[in-house]
Amino acid sequence: MMNDINGTDQPPILSIENLSIAYDKDKFVVKNVSATITKNAITAIMGPSGCGKTTLLRAINRMHELYPNISTQGGIKLFDENIYDMSTITLRRKVGMVFQRPNPFPTLSIYENVIAGYKLNGIRLKRHERDEIVETSLRDVTLWEEVKGALHKKGTFLSGGQQQRLCIARALAFKPDVILLDEPTSALDPVATAKVEDLLVELKKQYTIILVTHNMSQAARISDNSMFMYLGELIEYEDTKTIFTKPKDPRTEGYLTGKFG
């Protein structure tokens, strides 16, 4: 079953095809999920704990392969190229990731953190190229004005919200096609959360964003399309307005109205 989003004329950038993931034999955490992701939009993945939303997200840049004994069936295509045929190194440059807790590298300065992707991969850049990447990435996450005087200080001196925006800048530095965010605001206070949300809305002009969130109102506020997952299945995938106002499946309605979750 293909879940196509109607009403948008943007071409799909990413398509998930009959994806199933099991941690142990026959213990599936993601069950036969198919979906196409719209370009330059924010797609939210919602669902109760343990529904497989983080695993699904991690499958998109193959981070889920870090777990032992994982088995994956089905496929994911990025611009019609199967990601399981790509090297993880190329894939992860095209699909960036931001985590639940801000995780800047504690040994590196703010400047080095932004270009960490290049440094760690041994890609040599000229000085002005580096400076430009750092400045545009930090401007993109609206952090530039706050840190431009302290670029060579350690990134861990920043506040939690600033650290998280620094981590987004680190993901942006590679100019990825898709950015995956795994509950990026769950460790932040409301003010920092609002900043990150505004930032994501701004970023979707240039990037395609997939966001896992526990927070329904966050999905309602900023996402264009929403997936609802339950026990590993993709129950409903619609544009956000429809899913919140006229959910088709009783389970979606139950979750959105707080009957379980």
Binding site: M63, I89, L91, R170, A171
Partner: protein, 303 residues
């Protein structure tokens, strides 16, 4: 009815008060005991350092760090004319540094890599086996390590007591310490940091060398410094592997001296007794500095 109730309440408060007084007394008593025993323990450290300083300081002079140990006759002559023993322990100091440097060169790369392997594959059965063997190696008496290295290196490779043999013996003693401290300090790194590096497409070996090792650097250094201070005082394995040497030696296949070996030699020579204390003082000072250094690194990490 009411009266009995009041009486009961009264009795209970009395009981509670009684309990709290007894608790306070017990608490004081226990605290006193703990402080008493801890004072006894640390007083030994100060007694050791104090007696080394008192008995050893008058032999510490420029010659102590620049000249080799004198022969028995010179020492006897100096003592009988009421002077301090001329000469010093430079052959032992340089020998110790040489042995420790070479042992570190062998043990640190192996130890750190094995430690990282254990951390990365903590649930693997082979890793569990390695971990157990490491613990066994740590428990092997140092004289046994000396004997084995004597058989392997002294007899078969260098055909005589040598620097190489001594370093191998010391490296074997360092290995388990470094392996376990590496593993422990790697465990302190949050997984999220590793994931951050992997999500940037970083190849596995670069995650280790560019992220894990730099992040846990202070922990690794602490472990290495403690391992060095541990082997600096080893005597038994060196007796069977490098023997000692009255002169300075830089050849890998020749015997060399070390400070703890000199202490043993001075002990066996009644004319040299004064040098025991100054050598011990030097050894204690060196180990103390290494320990303080590792404490300082740990404190800076936690700051």
């Amino acid at each position: 009815m009411d009266q009995t109730n009041e009486l009961l309440v009264d009795k209970r408060t009395l009981l509670l008060q009684d309990h709290s007084v007894r608790r306070k007394v017990k608490d004081r008593l226990f605290l006193g005991t703990v402080i008493f025993f801890s004072l006894i323990t640390i007083s030994f450290v100060f007694l050791i350092i104090g007696s080394c300083v008192l008995k050893g300081y008058h032999q510490i002079n420029w010659a102590f760090f620049t000249q080799s140990a004198p022969d028995t006759f010179t020492a006897m002559m100096a003592k009988s004319s009421g002077q301090i023993i001329p000469g010093g322990i430079v052959n032992g100091i340089l020998g110790s540094l040489y042995l420790v440097a070479l042992a570190s060169l062998i043990a640190i790369p192996f130890g750190v890599l094995i430690g990282i392997y254990l951390y990365e594959n903590s649930k693997n059965r082979y890793a569990g086996f390695i971990r157990d063997i490491t613990d066994v190696l740590q428990g092997v008496p140092s004289i046994v390590v000396g004997l084995i290295v004597y058989l392997w290196v002294v007899v078969h490779i260098t055909h005589g007591y040598s620097v190489l043999a001594g370093s191998v013996a010391l490296a074997l003693m360092m290995l388990p310490l470094i392996i376990r401290s590496t593993e422990e300090s790697m465990k302190m790194i949050p997984d999220s940091l590793k994931e951050a590096a992997i999500a940037l497409g970083t190849p596995y070996y670069k995650v280790i060398f560019r992220v894990l090792i730099p992040t846990s650097f202070s922990g690794l250094m602490t472990g290495i410094l403690l391992a060095i201070s541990r082997i600096l005082g080893e005597t038994a394995p060196l007796m069977l592997t490098t023997l000692g040497n009255p002169a300075i030696n830089w050849s890998l296949t020749k015997p060399v001296s070390a400070v703890p070996l000199l202490v043993w030699q001075f002990y066996n020579d009644p004319n040299m007794v004064d040098l025991i204390w100054s050598s011990t003082l030097f050894l204690m000072g060196f180990v103390l500095i290494l320990n303080l250094l590792s404490k300082w690194i740990t404190a800076r990490r936690n700051a």
